[in-house]
Protein backbone atom coordinates (compact mmCIF):
# COMPACT_ATOMS: atom_id res chain seq x y z
CA UNK A 1 0.00 0.00 0.00
CA UNK A 2 1.29 3.38 -0.94
CA UNK A 3 -0.62 5.41 1.57
CA UNK A 4 1.58 7.52 3.79
CA UNK A 5 -1.19 8.87 5.97
CA UNK A 6 -0.79 8.06 9.59
CA UNK A 7 -3.93 6.56 11.06
CA UNK A 8 -6.27 8.88 12.88
CA UNK A 9 -7.48 7.68 16.24
CA UNK A 10 -11.23 7.64 16.11
CA UNK A 11 -12.75 9.80 18.81
CA UNK A 12 -14.87 8.34 21.56
CA UNK A 13 -18.64 8.16 21.45
CA UNK A 14 -18.74 10.89 24.02
CA UNK A 15 -16.62 13.26 21.94
CA UNK A 16 -18.65 12.73 18.81
CA UNK A 17 -21.91 13.21 20.68
CA UNK A 18 -20.54 16.46 22.05
CA UNK A 19 -19.47 17.62 18.60
CA UNK A 20 -22.89 16.92 17.13
CA UNK A 21 -24.64 18.41 20.16
CA UNK A 22 -22.53 21.56 19.95
CA UNK A 23 -23.31 21.80 16.29
CA UNK A 24 -27.07 21.31 16.77
CA UNK A 25 -26.93 23.96 19.47
CA UNK A 26 -25.22 26.52 17.21
CA UNK A 27 -27.58 25.61 14.43
CA UNK A 28 -30.58 26.39 16.62
CA UNK A 29 -28.98 29.49 18.05
CA UNK A 30 -28.34 30.79 14.56
CA UNK A 31 -31.99 30.09 13.77
CA UNK A 32 -32.53 32.94 16.21
CA UNK A 33 -34.53 30.96 18.74
CA UNK A 34 -33.14 33.11 21.50
CA UNK A 35 -35.35 35.96 20.38
CA UNK A 36 -38.08 34.44 22.48
CA UNK A 37 -36.02 35.35 25.52
CA UNK A 38 -36.83 38.95 24.76
CA UNK A 39 -40.50 38.02 24.79
CA UNK A 40 -39.98 36.32 28.11
CA UNK A 41 -38.24 39.37 29.53
CA UNK A 42 -41.22 41.47 28.55
CA UNK A 43 -43.61 39.01 30.18
CA UNK A 44 -41.55 38.70 33.37
CA UNK A 45 -41.26 42.43 33.75
CA UNK A 46 -44.82 43.11 32.70
CA UNK A 47 -46.23 40.59 35.17
CA UNK A 48 -44.75 42.92 37.74
CA UNK A 49 -47.07 45.67 36.72
CA UNK A 50 -50.16 43.61 36.23
CA UNK A 51 -52.03 45.39 38.94
CA UNK A 52 -54.72 42.85 38.60
CA UNK A 53 -57.96 43.85 40.20
CA UNK A 54 -57.62 42.07 43.49
CA UNK A 55 -59.37 42.16 46.74
CA UNK A 56 -56.94 41.87 49.52
CA UNK A 57 -56.54 42.99 53.03
CA UNK A 58 -53.59 45.16 53.96
CA UNK A 59 -51.85 42.19 55.52
CA UNK A 60 -51.37 40.48 52.18
CA UNK A 61 -50.18 43.50 50.21
CA UNK A 62 -48.53 42.38 47.03
CA UNK A 63 -48.62 38.63 47.69
CA UNK A 64 -50.73 38.22 44.62
CA UNK A 65 -48.19 40.06 42.54
CA UNK A 66 -45.55 37.56 43.61
CA UNK A 67 -47.81 34.67 42.73
CA UNK A 68 -48.65 36.30 39.45
CA UNK A 69 -44.96 36.78 38.57
CA UNK A 70 -44.30 33.13 39.37
CA UNK A 71 -47.22 31.68 37.51
CA UNK A 72 -46.59 33.87 34.47
CA UNK A 73 -42.90 33.08 34.44
CA UNK A 74 -43.20 29.34 34.98
CA UNK A 75 -46.13 29.17 32.60
CA UNK A 76 -44.12 30.87 29.91
CA UNK A 77 -41.13 28.65 30.67
CA UNK A 78 -43.31 25.58 30.32
CA UNK A 79 -44.70 26.74 27.01
CA UNK A 80 -41.35 27.78 25.57
CA UNK A 81 -39.49 24.72 26.76
CA UNK A 82 -42.08 22.26 25.52
CA UNK A 83 -42.59 23.99 22.18
CA UNK A 84 -38.86 24.40 21.71
CA UNK A 85 -37.99 20.83 22.57
CA UNK A 86 -40.70 19.34 20.37
CA UNK A 87 -40.33 21.61 17.39
CA UNK A 88 -36.55 21.75 17.40
CA UNK A 89 -36.25 17.98 17.65
CA UNK A 90 -38.93 17.41 15.05
CA UNK A 91 -37.17 19.85 12.75
CA UNK A 92 -33.54 18.82 12.99
CA UNK A 93 -33.73 15.24 11.80
CA UNK A 94 -35.91 15.65 8.68
CA UNK A 95 -33.93 18.77 7.78
CA UNK A 96 -30.71 16.80 7.71
CA UNK A 97 -32.32 14.10 5.59
CA UNK A 98 -33.84 16.59 3.22
CA UNK A 99 -30.67 18.62 2.80
CA UNK A 100 -28.65 15.44 2.50
CA UNK A 101 -26.32 16.71 5.19
CA UNK A 102 -27.14 13.48 6.96
CA UNK A 103 -25.31 11.56 4.20
CA UNK A 104 -22.15 13.48 4.79
CA UNK A 105 -22.34 12.82 8.51
CA UNK A 106 -23.20 9.15 8.31
CA UNK A 107 -20.56 8.68 5.63
CA UNK A 108 -18.05 9.58 8.31
CA UNK A 109 -17.22 6.98 10.92
CA UNK A 110 -20.15 8.11 13.08
CA UNK A 111 -22.40 5.47 14.64
CA UNK A 112 -26.04 6.37 14.28
CA UNK A 113 -26.64 6.33 18.03
CA UNK A 114 -24.03 9.08 18.36
CA UNK A 115 -25.83 11.14 15.80
CA UNK A 116 -29.20 10.78 17.55
CA UNK A 117 -27.85 11.32 21.03
CA UNK A 118 -25.92 14.35 19.80
CA UNK A 119 -28.95 15.98 18.23
CA UNK A 120 -31.02 15.35 21.34
CA UNK A 121 -28.31 16.68 23.61
CA UNK A 122 -28.01 19.79 21.45
CA UNK A 123 -31.69 20.53 21.85
CA UNK A 124 -31.50 19.86 25.58
CA UNK A 125 -28.54 22.19 26.00
CA UNK A 126 -30.49 24.88 24.22
CA UNK A 127 -33.56 24.33 26.40
CA UNK A 128 -31.40 24.27 29.51
CA UNK A 129 -29.56 27.46 28.65
CA UNK A 130 -32.75 29.31 27.83
CA UNK A 131 -34.47 28.10 30.97
CA UNK A 132 -31.45 29.13 33.01
CA UNK A 133 -31.56 32.62 31.52
CA UNK A 134 -35.28 32.89 32.15
CA UNK A 135 -34.77 31.60 35.66
CA UNK A 136 -32.19 34.25 36.41
CA UNK A 137 -34.50 36.95 35.12
CA UNK A 138 -37.46 35.64 37.10
CA UNK A 139 -35.40 35.33 40.27
CA UNK A 140 -34.14 38.89 39.95
CA UNK A 141 -37.60 40.30 39.36
CA UNK A 142 -39.01 38.25 42.20
CA UNK A 143 -36.19 39.22 44.54
CA UNK A 144 -36.66 42.91 43.92
CA UNK A 145 -40.39 42.74 44.20
CA UNK A 146 -40.54 40.58 47.29
CA UNK A 147 -38.10 42.75 49.19
CA UNK A 148 -40.20 45.78 48.24
CA UNK A 149 -43.29 44.03 49.50
CA UNK A 150 -41.59 42.95 52.70
CA UNK A 151 -40.58 46.50 53.48
CA UNK A 152 -44.12 47.67 52.81
CA UNK A 153 -45.63 44.95 54.93
CA UNK A 154 -43.35 45.53 57.86
CA UNK A 155 -44.02 49.25 57.70
CA UNK A 156 -47.76 48.58 57.61
CA UNK A 157 -47.58 46.10 60.46
CA UNK A 158 -45.51 48.42 62.63
CA UNK A 159 -47.78 51.37 61.99
CA UNK A 160 -50.69 49.22 63.13
CA UNK A 161 -48.75 48.13 66.16
CA UNK A 162 -48.62 44.43 65.29
CA UNK A 163 -46.77 42.31 67.79
CA UNK A 164 -43.40 40.99 66.73
CA UNK A 165 -44.55 37.40 66.32
CA UNK A 166 -47.29 38.44 63.90
CA UNK A 167 -44.76 40.40 61.84
CA UNK A 168 -42.44 37.40 61.82
CA UNK A 169 -45.22 35.11 60.65
CA UNK A 170 -46.10 37.52 57.86
CA UNK A 171 -42.47 37.83 56.87
CA UNK A 172 -42.08 34.05 56.72
CA UNK A 173 -45.17 33.75 54.59
CA UNK A 174 -44.00 36.37 52.13
CA UNK A 175 -40.58 34.76 51.94
CA UNK A 176 -42.29 31.55 50.90
CA UNK A 177 -43.59 33.38 47.86
CA UNK A 178 -40.27 35.01 47.05
CA UNK A 179 -37.35 33.38 45.25
CA UNK A 180 -36.33 30.18 47.00
CA UNK A 181 -34.86 26.76 46.34
CA UNK A 182 -38.20 25.13 45.70
CA UNK A 183 -38.69 27.54 42.82
CA UNK A 184 -35.33 26.57 41.32
CA UNK A 185 -36.42 22.96 41.69
CA UNK A 186 -39.63 23.76 39.86
CA UNK A 187 -37.68 25.30 36.98
CA UNK A 188 -35.57 22.16 36.84
CA UNK A 189 -38.76 20.10 36.77
CA UNK A 190 -39.87 22.17 33.78
CA UNK A 191 -36.58 21.24 32.13
CA UNK A 192 -37.06 17.56 32.95
CA UNK A 193 -40.49 17.55 31.39
CA UNK A 194 -39.12 19.26 28.29
CA UNK A 195 -36.36 16.63 28.07
CA UNK A 196 -38.89 13.84 28.12
CA UNK A 197 -40.79 15.57 25.35
CA UNK A 198 -37.65 16.13 23.29
CA UNK A 199 -36.64 12.47 23.49
CA UNK A 200 -40.18 11.42 22.68
CA UNK A 201 -40.26 13.73 19.67
CA UNK A 202 -36.96 12.20 18.60
CA UNK A 203 -38.50 8.74 18.72
CA UNK A 204 -41.52 9.85 16.74
CA UNK A 205 -39.44 11.65 14.16
CA UNK A 206 -37.44 8.49 13.43
CA UNK A 207 -40.46 6.88 11.83
CA UNK A 208 -42.57 9.89 10.97
CA UNK A 209 -42.40 11.31 7.50
CA UNK A 210 -43.00 14.96 8.26
CA UNK A 211 -42.12 17.56 10.84
CA UNK A 212 -45.76 18.53 11.13
CA UNK A 213 -46.81 14.99 11.98
CA UNK A 214 -44.12 14.67 14.65
CA UNK A 215 -45.06 18.00 16.16
CA UNK A 216 -48.78 17.31 16.30
CA UNK A 217 -48.42 13.82 17.71
CA UNK A 218 -45.92 15.01 20.31
CA UNK A 219 -48.21 17.77 21.51
CA UNK A 220 -51.12 15.36 21.68
CA UNK A 221 -49.09 12.99 23.80
CA UNK A 222 -47.97 15.88 25.95
CA UNK A 223 -51.51 16.88 26.80
CA UNK A 224 -52.71 13.33 27.21
CA UNK A 225 -49.76 12.70 29.51
CA UNK A 226 -51.24 15.07 32.03
CA UNK A 227 -54.28 13.00 32.73
CA UNK A 228 -52.71 9.69 31.89
CA UNK A 229 -52.45 8.95 35.62
CA UNK A 230 -56.22 8.82 35.73
CA UNK A 231 -56.08 5.87 33.36
CA UNK A 232 -53.57 4.21 35.64
CA UNK A 233 -55.79 4.78 38.64
CA UNK A 234 -58.76 3.54 36.66
CA UNK A 235 -56.85 0.34 36.07
CA UNK A 236 -55.61 -0.04 39.61
CA UNK A 237 -58.99 0.69 41.17
CA UNK A 238 -61.10 -0.96 38.54
CA UNK A 239 -62.44 -3.41 41.08
CA UNK A 240 -64.42 -0.70 42.80
CA UNK A 241 -65.54 1.08 39.68
CA UNK A 242 -66.86 -2.16 38.26
CA UNK A 243 -65.55 -1.62 34.74
CA UNK A 244 -65.36 -4.47 32.31
CA UNK A 245 -62.22 -6.41 31.54
CA UNK A 246 -61.88 -4.67 28.22
CA UNK A 247 -61.97 -1.19 29.73
CA UNK A 248 -59.41 -2.28 32.30
CA UNK A 249 -57.06 -3.63 29.69
CA UNK A 250 -57.48 -0.50 27.58
CA UNK A 251 -56.64 1.64 30.58
CA UNK A 252 -53.60 -0.50 31.27
CA UNK A 253 -52.22 -0.28 27.74
CA UNK A 254 -52.95 3.42 27.69
CA UNK A 255 -51.02 4.04 30.87
CA UNK A 256 -48.16 1.77 29.89
CA UNK A 257 -47.55 3.32 26.49
CA UNK A 258 -48.03 6.99 27.17
CA UNK A 259 -45.78 9.03 29.44
CA UNK A 260 -47.16 10.30 32.72
CA UNK A 261 -46.71 13.98 33.51
CA UNK A 262 -49.02 14.10 36.49
CA UNK A 263 -46.14 14.20 38.94
CA UNK A 264 -44.89 17.36 37.30
CA UNK A 265 -47.89 19.15 38.76
CA UNK A 266 -45.54 19.65 41.67
CA UNK A 267 -44.54 22.78 39.75
CA UNK A 268 -47.97 24.26 40.41
CA UNK A 269 -47.70 23.42 44.08
CA UNK A 270 -44.43 25.36 44.20
CA UNK A 271 -46.04 28.36 42.53
CA UNK A 272 -48.64 28.23 45.26
CA UNK A 273 -45.87 28.58 47.79
CA UNK A 274 -45.25 24.97 48.85
CA UNK A 275 -41.75 23.71 49.53
CA UNK A 276 -40.34 20.90 47.40
CA UNK A 277 -38.20 18.37 49.26
CA UNK A 278 -34.91 17.54 47.57
CA UNK A 279 -35.81 13.85 47.47
CA UNK A 280 -38.82 14.60 45.32
CA UNK A 281 -36.63 16.43 42.84
CA UNK A 282 -34.12 13.58 42.82
CA UNK A 283 -36.84 11.01 42.15
CA UNK A 284 -38.35 13.20 39.47
CA UNK A 285 -34.93 13.54 37.82
CA UNK A 286 -34.38 9.79 37.86
CA UNK A 287 -37.75 9.19 36.25
CA UNK A 288 -37.02 11.87 33.65
CA UNK A 289 -33.65 10.32 32.89
CA UNK A 290 -35.23 6.90 32.60
CA UNK A 291 -37.66 8.23 30.02
CA UNK A 292 -35.02 10.07 28.03
CA UNK A 293 -32.67 7.10 27.91
CA UNK A 294 -35.40 4.68 26.93
CA UNK A 295 -36.76 6.91 24.19
CA UNK A 296 -33.28 7.54 22.83
CA UNK A 297 -32.47 3.84 22.68
CA UNK A 298 -35.83 3.13 21.05
CA UNK A 299 -35.15 5.87 18.51
CA UNK A 300 -31.80 4.31 17.72
CA UNK A 301 -33.47 0.93 17.31
CA UNK A 302 -35.66 2.38 14.57
CA UNK A 303 -33.03 4.68 13.11
CA UNK A 304 -30.32 2.03 12.88
CA UNK A 305 -32.32 0.16 10.25
CA UNK A 306 -33.39 3.21 8.35
CA UNK A 307 -32.35 3.70 4.74
CA UNK A 308 -31.85 7.04 3.11
Amino acid sequence: MSSTTQPIARGSHFNRILVIAGHAFTQLVRMKVFYFLAVFAVIAIASNFFDLPQHEGPESIGMNVLRSIKSWSLGTMTLFSVVLSIVATALLLPKDVEDRTLYTILAKPVPRIDYLAGKLLGVLILVFVSLAMMDVLMTVVLQIRSSMILTQQVAMAQSQGWPQDAIESLRAETAQHGPNWALQGAVFAVFLRASIMASLALLISTFSTSTLFTTIISFLIYFIGHFQADARDAYLQAGQAGEGVFARMAALVFSLVLPDFQNFNVIDAVIEGQAMPLMVLVKLSLIGLYYAVFFTIASWFVFAEKEF
Partner: protein, 325 residues
Protein backbone atom coordinates in the same frame (compact mmCIF):
# COMPACT_ATOMS: atom_id res chain seq x y z
CA UNK B 1 -35.41 -7.64 10.22
CA UNK B 2 -38.90 -7.25 8.81
CA UNK B 3 -40.84 -4.10 9.53
CA UNK B 4 -43.51 -5.90 11.51
CA UNK B 5 -40.87 -7.65 13.61
CA UNK B 6 -39.23 -4.36 14.39
CA UNK B 7 -42.51 -2.71 15.31
CA UNK B 8 -43.42 -5.69 17.45
CA UNK B 9 -40.17 -5.48 19.38
CA UNK B 10 -40.62 -1.76 19.77
CA UNK B 11 -44.14 -2.13 21.13
CA UNK B 12 -43.05 -4.88 23.52
CA UNK B 13 -40.20 -2.68 24.74
CA UNK B 14 -42.57 0.23 25.20
CA UNK B 15 -44.93 -1.89 27.28
CA UNK B 16 -42.10 -3.32 29.33
CA UNK B 17 -40.74 0.16 29.92
CA UNK B 18 -44.20 1.30 30.98
CA UNK B 19 -44.54 -1.62 33.35
CA UNK B 20 -41.24 -0.79 35.06
CA UNK B 21 -41.92 2.91 35.44
CA UNK B 22 -45.58 2.64 36.48
CA UNK B 23 -44.90 1.66 40.09
CA UNK B 24 -42.18 4.30 40.40
CA UNK B 25 -44.47 7.05 39.20
CA UNK B 26 -47.34 5.83 41.29
CA UNK B 27 -45.27 5.85 44.46
CA UNK B 28 -43.91 9.30 43.73
CA UNK B 29 -47.44 10.52 43.00
CA UNK B 30 -48.69 9.14 46.31
CA UNK B 31 -45.77 10.72 48.08
CA UNK B 32 -46.53 14.08 46.51
CA UNK B 33 -50.20 13.87 47.37
CA UNK B 34 -49.37 12.95 50.93
CA UNK B 35 -47.00 15.87 51.23
CA UNK B 36 -49.63 18.22 49.83
CA UNK B 37 -47.46 18.84 46.75
CA UNK B 38 -49.89 17.42 44.27
CA UNK B 39 -53.46 18.53 44.00
CA UNK B 40 -56.19 15.93 44.12
CA UNK B 41 -56.91 14.78 40.56
CA UNK B 42 -59.09 17.19 38.63
CA UNK B 43 -62.72 16.33 39.02
CA UNK B 44 -64.35 15.40 35.77
CA UNK B 45 -66.81 18.22 36.40
CA UNK B 46 -64.05 20.79 36.19
CA UNK B 47 -62.92 19.44 32.87
CA UNK B 48 -66.40 19.88 31.52
CA UNK B 49 -66.75 23.37 32.82
CA UNK B 50 -63.54 24.86 31.63
CA UNK B 51 -63.60 25.69 27.96
CA UNK B 52 -61.82 23.43 25.53
CA UNK B 53 -58.83 25.66 25.05
CA UNK B 54 -58.09 26.48 28.62
CA UNK B 55 -58.58 22.89 29.68
CA UNK B 56 -55.84 21.87 27.31
CA UNK B 57 -53.58 24.40 28.95
CA UNK B 58 -54.74 23.50 32.44
CA UNK B 59 -53.95 19.90 31.76
CA UNK B 60 -50.71 20.92 30.18
CA UNK B 61 -49.31 21.95 33.51
CA UNK B 62 -50.42 25.53 33.56
CA UNK B 63 -53.11 25.23 36.18
CA UNK B 64 -52.06 28.23 38.18
CA UNK B 65 -51.86 30.45 35.14
CA UNK B 66 -55.37 29.50 34.09
CA UNK B 67 -56.49 30.12 37.66
CA UNK B 68 -55.05 33.63 37.37
CA UNK B 69 -57.09 34.26 34.25
CA UNK B 70 -60.24 32.89 35.81
CA UNK B 71 -59.66 35.16 38.77
CA UNK B 72 -59.78 38.09 36.39
CA UNK B 73 -63.02 36.81 34.97
CA UNK B 74 -64.43 36.41 38.45
CA UNK B 75 -63.59 40.02 39.12
CA UNK B 76 -65.56 41.24 36.14
CA UNK B 77 -68.50 39.07 37.19
CA UNK B 78 -68.19 40.67 40.61
CA UNK B 79 -68.33 44.12 39.09
CA UNK B 80 -71.44 43.16 37.20
CA UNK B 81 -72.87 41.67 40.40
CA UNK B 82 -73.44 38.31 38.75
CA UNK B 83 -73.09 36.38 41.97
CA UNK B 84 -73.80 32.89 40.65
CA UNK B 85 -71.16 33.32 37.98
CA UNK B 86 -68.70 34.57 40.58
CA UNK B 87 -69.30 31.45 42.68
CA UNK B 88 -69.06 29.08 39.73
CA UNK B 89 -65.82 30.69 38.61
CA UNK B 90 -64.32 30.32 42.04
CA UNK B 91 -65.33 26.67 42.11
CA UNK B 92 -63.21 26.20 39.00
CA UNK B 93 -60.36 28.32 40.31
CA UNK B 94 -59.98 26.32 43.49
CA UNK B 95 -60.03 23.08 41.53
CA UNK B 96 -57.07 24.39 39.59
CA UNK B 97 -55.19 25.93 42.50
CA UNK B 98 -56.47 24.32 45.69
CA UNK B 99 -53.44 25.32 47.71
CA UNK B 100 -53.78 29.02 47.21
CA UNK B 101 -55.44 30.50 50.30
CA UNK B 102 -56.24 33.71 48.51
CA UNK B 103 -58.74 32.04 46.19
CA UNK B 104 -60.57 30.33 49.01
CA UNK B 105 -60.73 33.50 51.04
CA UNK B 106 -61.77 35.67 48.14
CA UNK B 107 -64.38 33.22 46.89
CA UNK B 108 -65.99 32.92 50.27
CA UNK B 109 -65.79 36.65 50.88
CA UNK B 110 -67.56 37.39 47.59
CA UNK B 111 -70.39 35.15 48.59
CA UNK B 112 -70.77 35.76 52.30
CA UNK B 113 -70.01 39.48 52.26
CA UNK B 114 -70.52 41.01 48.82
CA UNK B 115 -73.40 38.90 47.57
CA UNK B 116 -75.06 38.93 51.00
CA UNK B 117 -74.88 42.74 51.27
CA UNK B 118 -76.21 43.02 47.76
CA UNK B 119 -79.33 41.13 48.80
CA UNK B 120 -79.77 43.33 51.85
CA UNK B 121 -79.87 46.42 49.69
CA UNK B 122 -81.44 45.14 46.50
CA UNK B 123 -85.04 46.36 46.65
CA UNK B 124 -86.21 44.76 43.46
CA UNK B 125 -86.93 41.47 45.18
CA UNK B 126 -89.67 40.72 47.65
CA UNK B 127 -88.28 40.84 51.18
CA UNK B 128 -88.80 37.15 51.90
CA UNK B 129 -86.81 36.12 48.86
CA UNK B 130 -84.13 38.66 49.64
CA UNK B 131 -83.76 37.19 53.08
CA UNK B 132 -83.44 33.67 51.77
CA UNK B 133 -80.95 34.78 49.13
CA UNK B 134 -78.96 36.61 51.81
CA UNK B 135 -78.94 33.56 54.03
CA UNK B 136 -78.01 31.25 51.14
CA UNK B 137 -75.11 33.50 50.15
CA UNK B 138 -73.69 33.39 53.66
CA UNK B 139 -74.14 29.62 53.89
CA UNK B 140 -72.40 29.23 50.60
CA UNK B 141 -69.50 31.42 51.67
CA UNK B 142 -69.10 29.42 54.85
CA UNK B 143 -69.28 26.08 53.04
CA UNK B 144 -66.69 27.25 50.52
CA UNK B 145 -64.34 28.34 53.26
CA UNK B 146 -64.80 25.05 55.07
CA UNK B 147 -63.88 23.18 51.88
CA UNK B 148 -60.79 25.34 51.65
CA UNK B 149 -59.89 24.35 55.21
CA UNK B 150 -60.30 20.66 54.40
CA UNK B 151 -57.91 21.17 51.49
CA UNK B 152 -55.43 23.16 53.59
CA UNK B 153 -55.81 21.91 57.14
CA UNK B 154 -52.63 23.54 58.34
CA UNK B 155 -53.48 27.04 57.15
CA UNK B 156 -54.17 29.18 60.23
CA UNK B 157 -55.40 32.08 58.16
CA UNK B 158 -58.29 30.20 56.54
CA UNK B 159 -59.36 28.91 59.94
CA UNK B 160 -59.20 32.33 61.44
CA UNK B 161 -61.15 33.77 58.51
CA UNK B 162 -63.89 31.24 59.23
CA UNK B 163 -63.90 32.17 62.90
CA UNK B 164 -64.11 35.83 61.94
CA UNK B 165 -67.08 35.21 59.65
CA UNK B 166 -68.98 33.22 62.27
CA UNK B 167 -68.52 35.91 64.92
CA UNK B 168 -69.38 38.79 62.60
CA UNK B 169 -72.53 40.51 63.83
CA UNK B 170 -73.69 40.92 60.26
CA UNK B 171 -73.25 37.22 59.52
CA UNK B 172 -74.09 35.07 62.52
CA UNK B 173 -77.77 36.04 62.55
CA UNK B 174 -78.05 34.02 59.37
CA UNK B 175 -77.45 30.83 61.32
CA UNK B 176 -80.32 29.53 63.34
CA UNK B 177 -78.42 28.36 66.42
CA UNK B 178 -76.17 31.16 67.68
CA UNK B 179 -74.49 29.01 70.33
CA UNK B 180 -73.52 26.36 67.81
CA UNK B 181 -72.21 29.12 65.56
CA UNK B 182 -70.05 30.67 68.27
CA UNK B 183 -68.82 27.23 69.26
CA UNK B 184 -67.89 26.51 65.66
CA UNK B 185 -66.06 29.83 65.51
CA UNK B 186 -64.19 29.03 68.69
CA UNK B 187 -63.25 25.61 67.32
CA UNK B 188 -61.96 27.15 64.11
CA UNK B 189 -59.82 29.62 66.07
CA UNK B 190 -58.62 26.81 68.30
CA UNK B 191 -57.45 24.84 65.26
CA UNK B 192 -55.77 27.95 63.94
CA UNK B 193 -53.89 28.30 67.22
CA UNK B 194 -53.02 24.60 67.10
CA UNK B 195 -51.21 25.03 63.78
CA UNK B 196 -48.60 26.96 65.76
CA UNK B 197 -48.31 29.69 63.15
CA UNK B 198 -51.14 31.93 64.22
CA UNK B 199 -50.37 35.32 65.74
CA UNK B 200 -51.57 36.11 69.26
CA UNK B 201 -54.76 37.93 68.30
CA UNK B 202 -56.20 34.62 67.06
CA UNK B 203 -56.04 33.26 70.57
CA UNK B 204 -57.97 36.27 71.86
CA UNK B 205 -60.49 35.93 69.03
CA UNK B 206 -60.99 32.34 70.07
CA UNK B 207 -61.79 33.52 73.52
CA UNK B 208 -64.21 36.21 72.27
CA UNK B 209 -66.11 33.51 70.39
CA UNK B 210 -66.12 31.06 73.25
CA UNK B 211 -67.32 33.69 75.70
CA UNK B 212 -70.50 34.11 73.66
CA UNK B 213 -71.40 30.41 73.50
CA UNK B 214 -73.90 29.59 76.21
CA UNK B 215 -72.88 26.63 78.34
CA UNK B 216 -69.14 27.11 77.64
CA UNK B 217 -68.65 29.77 80.30
CA UNK B 218 -66.33 27.69 82.49
CA UNK B 219 -63.95 26.97 79.64
CA UNK B 220 -64.15 30.59 78.58
CA UNK B 221 -63.26 31.77 82.07
CA UNK B 222 -60.28 29.46 82.24
CA UNK B 223 -59.08 30.74 78.90
CA UNK B 224 -59.68 34.36 79.94
CA UNK B 225 -57.59 33.91 83.05
CA UNK B 226 -54.81 32.30 81.08
CA UNK B 227 -54.82 35.07 78.51
CA UNK B 228 -54.98 37.81 81.10
CA UNK B 229 -51.82 36.48 82.68
CA UNK B 230 -49.94 37.89 79.68
CA UNK B 231 -50.02 41.72 79.88
CA UNK B 232 -49.97 41.95 76.07
CA UNK B 233 -53.44 40.40 75.99
CA UNK B 234 -55.03 42.90 78.40
CA UNK B 235 -57.25 44.65 75.89
CA UNK B 236 -60.46 46.37 77.08
CA UNK B 237 -62.74 43.71 75.56
CA UNK B 238 -60.79 40.94 77.22
CA UNK B 239 -60.80 42.67 80.60
CA UNK B 240 -64.55 43.35 80.33
CA UNK B 241 -65.29 39.76 79.37
CA UNK B 242 -63.12 38.45 82.17
CA UNK B 243 -65.22 40.48 84.55
CA UNK B 244 -68.44 39.19 83.00
CA UNK B 245 -67.33 35.59 83.22
CA UNK B 246 -66.13 35.95 86.82
CA UNK B 247 -69.55 37.42 87.65
CA UNK B 248 -71.25 34.55 85.86
CA UNK B 249 -69.19 32.09 87.84
CA UNK B 250 -69.87 33.84 91.12
CA UNK B 251 -73.02 36.01 91.01
CA UNK B 252 -72.26 37.37 94.49
CA UNK B 253 -69.00 38.92 93.31
CA UNK B 254 -68.31 42.61 93.93
CA UNK B 255 -67.98 43.47 90.25
CA UNK B 256 -67.20 47.14 90.83
CA UNK B 257 -64.19 46.23 92.93
CA UNK B 258 -63.02 43.73 90.37
CA UNK B 259 -63.57 46.31 87.62
CA UNK B 260 -61.29 48.79 89.32
CA UNK B 261 -58.73 46.02 89.80
CA UNK B 262 -58.90 45.02 86.17
CA UNK B 263 -58.96 48.49 84.65
CA UNK B 264 -56.69 50.09 87.24
CA UNK B 265 -58.80 53.25 87.74
CA UNK B 266 -62.57 53.71 88.22
CA UNK B 267 -62.67 56.18 85.30
CA UNK B 268 -61.14 53.72 82.88
CA UNK B 269 -63.36 50.96 84.23
CA UNK B 270 -66.45 53.05 83.67
CA UNK B 271 -65.48 54.01 80.17
CA UNK B 272 -64.62 50.49 79.11
CA UNK B 273 -67.62 48.85 80.67
CA UNK B 274 -69.93 51.50 79.21
CA UNK B 275 -68.59 50.59 75.80
CA UNK B 276 -69.14 46.93 76.50
CA UNK B 277 -72.72 47.64 77.67
CA UNK B 278 -73.48 49.43 74.43
CA UNK B 279 -72.16 46.71 72.11
CA UNK B 280 -75.40 44.82 71.87
CA UNK B 281 -75.07 43.71 68.28
CA UNK B 282 -72.16 41.43 69.03
CA UNK B 283 -74.13 39.59 71.69
CA UNK B 284 -71.40 39.62 74.28
CA UNK B 285 -72.67 38.44 77.65
CA UNK B 286 -73.17 41.22 80.20
CA UNK B 287 -73.48 39.38 83.53
CA UNK B 288 -72.71 41.75 86.36
CA UNK B 289 -71.94 44.69 84.10
CA UNK B 290 -75.03 46.66 85.03
CA UNK B 291 -74.23 46.28 88.73
CA UNK B 292 -70.64 47.29 88.18
CA UNK B 293 -71.63 50.31 86.11
CA UNK B 294 -74.11 51.48 88.77
CA UNK B 295 -71.54 51.15 91.54
CA UNK B 296 -68.84 52.87 89.50
CA UNK B 297 -71.12 55.78 88.58
CA UNK B 298 -71.93 56.21 92.24
CA UNK B 299 -68.25 56.10 93.09
CA UNK B 300 -67.49 58.77 90.49
CA UNK B 301 -70.62 60.80 91.28
CA UNK B 302 -72.13 60.62 87.82
CA UNK B 303 -75.58 62.24 87.87
CA UNK B 304 -78.39 59.75 87.13
CA UNK B 305 -79.52 61.65 84.00
CA UNK B 306 -76.05 61.06 82.59
CA UNK B 307 -75.94 57.42 83.59
CA UNK B 308 -75.08 55.05 80.80
CA UNK B 309 -77.76 52.74 82.13
CA UNK B 310 -80.41 55.35 81.32
CA UNK B 311 -79.14 56.01 77.80
CA UNK B 312 -80.99 54.21 75.04
CA UNK B 313 -79.22 51.17 73.70
CA UNK B 314 -78.34 50.90 70.03
CA UNK B 315 -81.38 50.25 67.92
CA UNK B 316 -81.50 46.66 66.81
CA UNK B 317 -80.07 46.33 63.31
CA UNK B 318 -80.26 42.85 61.85
CA UNK B 319 -82.14 40.68 59.40
CA UNK B 320 -85.45 41.46 61.06
CA UNK B 321 -84.98 45.12 60.23
CA UNK B 322 -83.31 44.64 56.85
CA UNK B 323 -86.00 42.46 55.43
CA UNK B 324 -89.04 43.99 57.10
CA UNK B 325 -90.34 45.90 54.13
Amino acid sequence: MKAWQRNGILLAALLAFGATRLPLEKSLGDELRKGGLAPPPLEIGTRDKIGQTSSAVALGGLRTLVATFLNLRAFSFFQEQRWDDVSDTFEMIVDLAPRTRYYWETGSWHSAYNAASYYINNSNMPSLRRKEAWRAAIYRGRAFLERGIRNNPSDWSLLSTLGFMLTDANKFPAFRDPDATFTAAADAYQKAVDTGNAPAFVNRAQFYALARAKGREKEALALARALYADPKNRLPTLRALLLVLEAHENPALDTAKLAVELFETPERALEALSGHWQRTRERFPVDGVAGALGALEKMLAVPPEKSILNKPLQLPNGPDQWFSK
